[in-house]
């Protein structure tokens, strides 16, 4: 029964399919991809013409990483409706396993695109496995309890990384040790050294890979949202009891969202790890998880293109505030608070929408568009 309701193809009603999937999906997808591609073109042009300095150019890859992290977390927070505070943990799994894979592959081959893709896939797989293992026991929990447990698991993953040691011997074979350094190998052949983290990583991440990752993440999340499974996940979010009553397997669908989100975070983590020659486990602490959650909350829970913009702006902002020197982080905090207040203040929001409608060149006939969007957001 549930399957038949959710699987629009089986109903065969083109009208219903369009109503559910068509307009809303097309609008969201075109805005999301549009922002990514226009942003990519503008930034590339700026870098090529020298209008953008080293400082901003150096942030291209991290921006892409944070965008895909925010979009993937939105799958859990927005679409599945569960508050997760352990996203940085999955990022860490992806980053470190991606780095190990990269060093291993580079010892045997030099074709970078293949190394990149394989490392990313490996990072995604490992993060998905971590997500699966963690997801099974905790997804029976709800609300605040789940948030606290994900927080704890995020910290466990990070602390686990603190006692992992990987290295390559002279034949390019992988060596592993737990809680002690590996004897008998050169410093330069150490890949991960416990708390010191990964060193000597060859940095092969580029802006192009970043764009591909963002597009892939948005593609996966948007399509998942508009699939049979996605509708099941949202049905569970909106009314768990009703969803269960029509026979939806709550645990299965929640786990699905959780694992896909973890895998995407793993890919983003891998891109991040391969962008710096060194990476410490401390990077993936609770603060990073919260930072990603802030992107999602600011961009709009469930709103894909919103969190693309939020992640970009909030990554650039602290750097742009460097001229305030000692007051930099204070300024950043104040701006963050103001932005949060303003984006959620109905009066200000209505005013901005009104101004936007006045200047919007693509305005549709009839003024019901903004109203519809607002109610949609509130429901989410």
């Amino acid at each position: 029964m549930a399957d038949r309701i959710l699987n629009l193809k089986s109903i065969g009603s083109r009208g219903l399919k369009n109503a559910v999937k068509g307009n809303e999906y097309r609008r969201e997808a075109s805005i999301s991809y549009g922002i990514l591609i226009i942003g990519y073109i503008l930034l590339s042009l700026g870098a090529a013409t020298g209008l953008i300095g080293h400082n901003l150019q150096g942030q291209f890859v991290p921006i892409c990483v944070y965008v895909s992290l925010a979009v993937s977390l939105n799958l859990v927070v927005g679409i599945s409706g569960e508050l997760s505070l352990g996203h940085a943990g999955f990022m860490a799994v992806g980053a470190f396993s991606g780095i190990v894979m990269e060093r291993m592959l580079l010892a045997h081959m030099s074709f970078e695109p293949a190394v990149m893709i394989l490392s990313m896939l490996f990072g995604a797989c490992m993060a998905a496995i971590a997500g699966f293992i963690i997801g099974i026991p905790i997804l029976g929990l709800r609300g605040d309890y789940l948030a606290i447990v994900t927080l704890a698991f995020g910290e466990i993953i990070r602390n686990f990384m603190n006692v992992l040691y990987f290295g390559l011997d002279e034949n390019g074979h992988l060596k592993f040790a737990f809680n002690h350094t590996i004897e008998g190998i050169e410093n330069s052949q150490r890949i991960i050294t416990g708390a010191i983290g990964a060193t000597g990583t060859k940095t092969i991440s580029t802006f192009n890979w970043g764009l591909l990752l963002c597009i892939f993440t948005v593609f996966v999340v948007l399509n998942m949202k508009n699939s049979k499974q996605g509708r099941a996940i949202m049905a569970i979010r909106d009314n768990r009891i009703a969803a269960e009553s029509i026979g939806l397997d709550v645990r299965k669908y929640k786990l699905m969202a959780f694992v896909v989100s973890a895998a995407l975070a793993g890919m983003a983590g891998c891109l991040f790890g391969l962008n710096y020659s060194t990476l410490v486990p401390l990077k993936f602490n609770f603060n990073t998880s919260v930072l990603i959650l802030v992107f999602v909350v600011l961009g709009g829970v469930g709103n894909i293109w919103g969190c693309i913009i939020a992640a970009t702006v909030l990554t650039i902002l602290p750097e742009a505030f460097r001229q305030f020197a000692d007051y930099r982080m204070l300024t950043y905090a104040i701006v963050l608070i103001l932005v949060m207040i303003c984006t959620y203040n109905p009066t200000i929001k209505a005013r901005v929408t009104a101004i936007w409608n006045r200047i919007n060149p693509f305005k549709k006939k009839g003024g019901d568009k903004p109203k519809k969007k607002k109610t949609g957001k509130e429901a989410a």
């Binding site: 080293h54 400082n55 708390a195 010191i196 401390l282 701006v335």
Partner: protein, 392 residues
């Protein structure tokens, strides 16, 4: 009324954002403010905010003292400017901060302050050919494979090695235990070197206990394990905050071994709410201490106290030495201050690897550099007696 306020806020935010983005774009490639043509632009990145801010700010202040001295001493010669950007002790932010310095026209990097950040930045300076001398990033990976990156501080494992040698020589019968932070690259690095050397000398560590956070306040379990193993010398290669907690709790337990620390322990006597009597008899191996009595150190300590109202720590002294070492080496290259960063880099590298030596605050005697980038200098061992450091 409410609506008017809302308008004001919206306008204010949009102004701020536009302003900051515009500034961010326009500054690229510009010169660093008041710096003229005859100015060598030194830069550094360090944690000016966050839990490690004390180190970044010490480097910023210590470097500033040296820069002011140089500029006052020869107003007609090459002047020096000093710009320190915040990196929060994080590799990602450090690369951003370094890129900002490059945008502002920096010629020589005297950073980064923390190891993790420095490894990430050193990779970039190696690519961009910017001469790098770090005051305090002590990991081996900082200089590895990079001909243009040098350290002014000891490497972590070297501190462990020297400590082990000292302990074996001066405490031949001691049963040695170790309490270290396995989540800190500094602490874990020293322990690594210590263990290797100590065991190579045919000795055995009777107990090793780890903790995972410098904010850790409960060391009962670790201390009990030391006590049960009968350790009468405990090696504590940690920063002074955890060491102070260890001392307090060991005292409460009535456990009185000899404690032996490294340069991270320096500063324990100025720690607030800490009973200095507990630090009596603690050994520490450090290249610098503010209570040293030579003229150079005293002059620096006085200038620092006057400017910033506190005693300088080792990081400040490292930065002071860095600025002078870089300035001396630059003067020997015979280049003009408007030379490109890449030209300066090549000339400075050949200076540093060509027998350049410098006498500063942070070594007993002079320091030289090896081709691998590590510094060749001797630390001193002190013991705290009567609330003062006494050299051993």
């Amino acid at each position: 009324m409410k609506k008017t306020w809302a308008k004001v806020v919206v306008v204010a935010i949009s102004c701020m954002m536009v302003f900051s983005f515009a500034a961010c774009g326009s500054k690229s490639g510009g010169s660093g403010g008041d710096a003229g043509d005859n100015t060598l632009k030194l830069g550094s990145t360090g944690p000016l905010t966050g839990p490690a801010a004390i180190y970044g700010n010490a480097v910023k202040n210590g470097g500033q003292i040296a820069v002011d001295e140089i500029n006052a001493a020869n107003p007609d010669g090459v002047q020096v400017s000093w710009q320190v950007e915040d990196d929060e002790g994080d590799g990602e932010k450090a690369v951003n901060a370094y890129n900002k310095l490059v945008d502002d026209g920096m010629q020589v990097l005297l950073g980064s302050v923390t190891s993790g950040a420095c490894v990430a930045v050193a990779e970039k300076t190696f690519e961009d050919r910017v001469f790098t001398l770090t005051p305090s990033a002590s990991q081996t990976a900082v200089t590895e494979g990079k001909d243009n990156v040098f350290q002014l501080c000891f490497r972590d494992p070297d501190q462990g090695t020297i400590s082990a040698d000292y302990i074996v020589e001066n405490f031949p019968d001691a049963k040695v235990g170790v309490i270290y932070n396995n989540a800190s690259d500094y602490s874990a690095g020293i322990f690594d070197g210590f263990k290797k050397e100590f065991e190579a000398k045919g000795k055995e560590i009777v107990a090793v206990e780890a903790f995972a956070d410098d904010a850790n306040t409960d060391f009962q379990a670790q201390l009990n394990s030391m006590k049960n193993a009968g350790a009468d010398l405990v090696f504590v290669p940690n920063y002074y905050t955890p060491v102070s907690n260890i001392l307090v709790q060991a005292d409460k337990m009535g456990y009185k071994p000899t404690f032996f620390g490294c340069d991270g322990v320096d500063g324990i006597l100025t720690l607030e709410n800490f009973d200095k009597n507990l630090a009596e008899g603690v050994y520490l191996l450090t290249p610098f201490t503010a209570s040293a009595e030579d003229e150079k150190t005293q002059k620096f300590v006085e200038a620092y106290k006057e400017a910033y109202g506190e005693e300088p720590n080792q990081f400040a002294a490292d930065a002071y030495d860095c600025v002078y070492a870089a300035y001396d080496a630059f003067a020997k290259t015979g280049l003009k201050a408007d030379a490109s960063a890449a030209d300066i880099c090549e000339a400075m590298v050949s200076q540093f690897t060509g027998g350049f030596s410098y006498e500063g605050l942070t070594a007993s005697g002079s320091m030289k550099w090896k081709e691998t980038g590590e510094v060749d200098k001797m630390p001193a061992v002190y013991v705290i007696e009567g609330g003062k450091y006494v050299e051993k």
